[in-house]
């Protein structure tokens, strides 16, 4: 009897041991890579933002306190990048969502080729930003001037859109919209398909016009999707780098606070430039942490908004 309990408890503890072993064994590969590339660099990065870390060879990395953060906020190129990123993001949110929603309405109406249309509008989204940027560089530099000349639009036939920082930002918005609208469209499509048909029919029988049905039945039911799409466009526009790099490479230059700076450099690119061109990696790191905090704020607002919406429902 005594013997039996003994073997039983030892087999249970053996089972526990195996379970623990399996737990760590299964977790190890993912956890190792995760720590290697996200957690450890994140920690190092926070520390380095308070040092004089530079991209050039240096003897020692010394603690300098908040210096990089103060310097970052006094750097005209960073302030300019913040302003221009906000403008770009705002225009992008509006344009992407208007176009995506209109396309979604088109491809959910009763059309024969709707699956082909959906795929067609979605296609640009699977092409990488670097490649997209070069395609559009060709369009803005070669195609648009010729087309503008043919239709007699002299401003565009005489000026390159990428040659002036204001129109170049607009060009960035156009390309991002082209890239992103099909993707956001599909989220709206999913939402539109979930609107119950009988509800729309009931409204029609009650004498509601097409516009009234759209305004009072469809829109309220699709509203939760707007939270998702608005924040998706917000975060993705804010983080834009690839198209920026290949379409304008941050240029052309413009004057800001009495300094000549690159006129279409968005925040992500400004962080890159600070380390790769100015070789001030510690300041780039400080800027990146500010960038991170802004994104965390966006996420928290999104969670708050969706939670609130759930409560209301």
């Amino acid at each position: 009897m005594n013997d039996k309990t003994k073997t039983k408890t030892s087999s249970i503890s053996k089972d526990k041991k195996i379970e623990k072993l399996v737990f760590w064994l299964f977790l190890a590969p993912a956890l190792f890579s995760f720590l290697m590339v996200q957690i450890i660099p994140f920690m190092i990065g926070i520390y380095y933002s308070f040092t004089n870390w530079s991209a050039t060879a240096q003897i020692s990395i010394d603690f300098v306190g908040m210096k990089n953060y103060f310097d970052a906020f006094q750097d005209p190129s960073f302030l300019y990048a913040t302003i221009i990123t906000s403008i770009y993001t705002f225009m992008n949110i509006i344009l992407v969502n208007i176009i995506a929603f209109s396309l979604a309405l088109l491809v959910t109406s009763n059309l024969k080729g709707k699956n082909i249309y959906r795929a067609g509008f979605f296609l640009p989204n699977i092409i990488g930003g670097i490649i997209l940027g070069y395609i559009w560089q060709f369009i803005f530099n070669q195609f648009v001037p010729k087309l503008a000349a043919a239709v007699g639009f002299t401003y565009l036939s005489e000026n390159l859109m990428l040659g002036n920082s204001n129109t170049a930002i607009l060009a960035l918005v156009i390309v991002s919209t082209w890239q992103y609208a099909g993707y956001i469209m599909m989220i709206y499509v999913a939402a539109l398909q979930n609107v119950p048909k009988d509800l729309l029919e009931a409204a029609q029988i009650d004498g509601a016009s097409a516009w009234q049905r759209f305004r009072n039945v469809t829109i309220p039911l699709v509203a939760p999707a707007f939270t998702v799409t608005l924040f998706l466009t917000l975060v993705n526009s804010f983080k834009q780098f690839d198209v920026n790099a290949s379409l304008t490479n941050g240029g052309p230059s413009t004057m800001f606070m009495g300094k000549a700076i690159k006129g279409t450099t968005l925040l992500a690119m400004n962080i890159n430039d600070t380390s790769i061109i100015s070789l001030n990696t510690a300041q780039a790191q400080a800027k990146a942490i500010v960038f991170f905090l802004v994104l965390v704020t966006f996420s928290l607002i999104q969670v708050y908004v969706s939670k609130k919406r759930e409560v209301e429902l």
């Binding site: 290697m36 590339v37 996200q38 059309l111 082909i116 640009p124 092409i127 082209w178 989220i187």
Partner: protein
């Protein structure tokens, strides 16, 4: 009544034609790449809108690009393919394994680890990219394992960055698998390994496809991570890096540039046409979660 039905058909045809036209206009940039890849540079500059007169120029341009020493297209294609494939294998299997033990082990530690993986999704690449390169440098000087400019380093990086979302999605999906299936397998004498690889893994197939697509398209198109971990102009270059290098030197020769773009587009577009339903569904699911 009859007239009304007739009007409806006409209205539908009009919107069919309209949508079709909008789509064609939407895709004009891609047609422009195709037609201009089949021209000489002079033809492009004088008439970027016209159709090519001689399609054999396309073949000539493709051969030029294929053997161009700046672009090293075939090598970049193989590199992109190898890096994407191995990263995807790592991400899906390791994330599924991790998600499974994190779900089935109910301890504070496992919850904390899961939370850490999920919380890391909000970390933008910009915050970790420079320290990552520094850390990889330190790591390779300590262990002797080549991390920078190597397949090993970039594949580990993709597994690490891909794991957060993948574990989150696997974990969510696994919650819906009844525990009884695994218990039955366990009673039948299946060990943990057998239970996972023979019972759980096959059930994961639908979510597996979604995770493969989400990560695959990201990795294939990614630019910043390979630029930092592999470096520009080093022996191992991915397709986006190669096109970027090429553009640095050849942006004035639009004929070659258009051909290089066309050749970089072909693999991903073929993949899209072959699996577009899965791709669209997968990418949309990934966003909403």
């Amino acid at each position: 009544m009859f007239k009304n039905a007739n009007n409806k058909i006409i209205a539908r045809n009009i919107s069919e034609v309209m949508t079709f036209t909008v789509m064609i206009m939407f895709l004009v940039p891609l047609f422009l790449v195709l037609i201009n890849a089949a021209k000489t540079n002079n033809e492009i500059i004088s008439a970027p809108l016209s159709l090519p007169t001689d399609w054999s120029v396309l073949i000539k341009n493709i051969t030029t690009i294929w053997s161009n020493p700046n672009l090293r297209y075939s090598q970049a294609l193989v590199n992109s393919f190898v890096i994407t494939t191995f990263s995807l294998m790592g991400i899906t299997i390791f994330s599924a394994m991790a998600a499974w033990v994190l779900l089935r082990t109910k301890t504070k530690l496992s919850t904390a680890i899961l939370m850490l993986f999920i919380a890391a999704m909000v970390i933008p690449f910009q915050v970790v990219m420079f320290p990552l390169v520094k850390w990889f440098g330190i790591f390779q000087s300590i262990t002797g394992i080549q991390m920078l400019r190597s397949y090993t380093g970039i594949i580990i990086a993709y597994i690490g960055f891909g794991s957060s979302l993948s574990i989150f999605m696997f974990h969510g999906f696994m919650k819906s698998i009844p525990h009884e299936i695994e218990e039955a397998a366990y009673v039948d004498g299946c060990g943990k390994f057998k239970t996972f690889f023979l019972i759980v893994l096959p059930i994961l197939k639908p979510i597996y496809v979604t995770i493969l697509i989400l990560n695959g398209i990201w990795i294939w198109n990614d630019f910043l991570l390979p630029m930092l971990v592999l470096g520009k102009g080093t022996p191992v270059q991915t397709l986006p890096l190669a096109v970027n290098n090429f553009a640095g030197a050849f942006l004035v020769s639009w004929d070659l540039m258009m051909t290089a773009i066309l050749m970089a587009l072909v693999p991903i577009i073929v993949f899209f046409l072959a699996a577009q339903k899965h791709i669209i569904k997968g990418m949309v699911e990934g966003s909403v979660k």
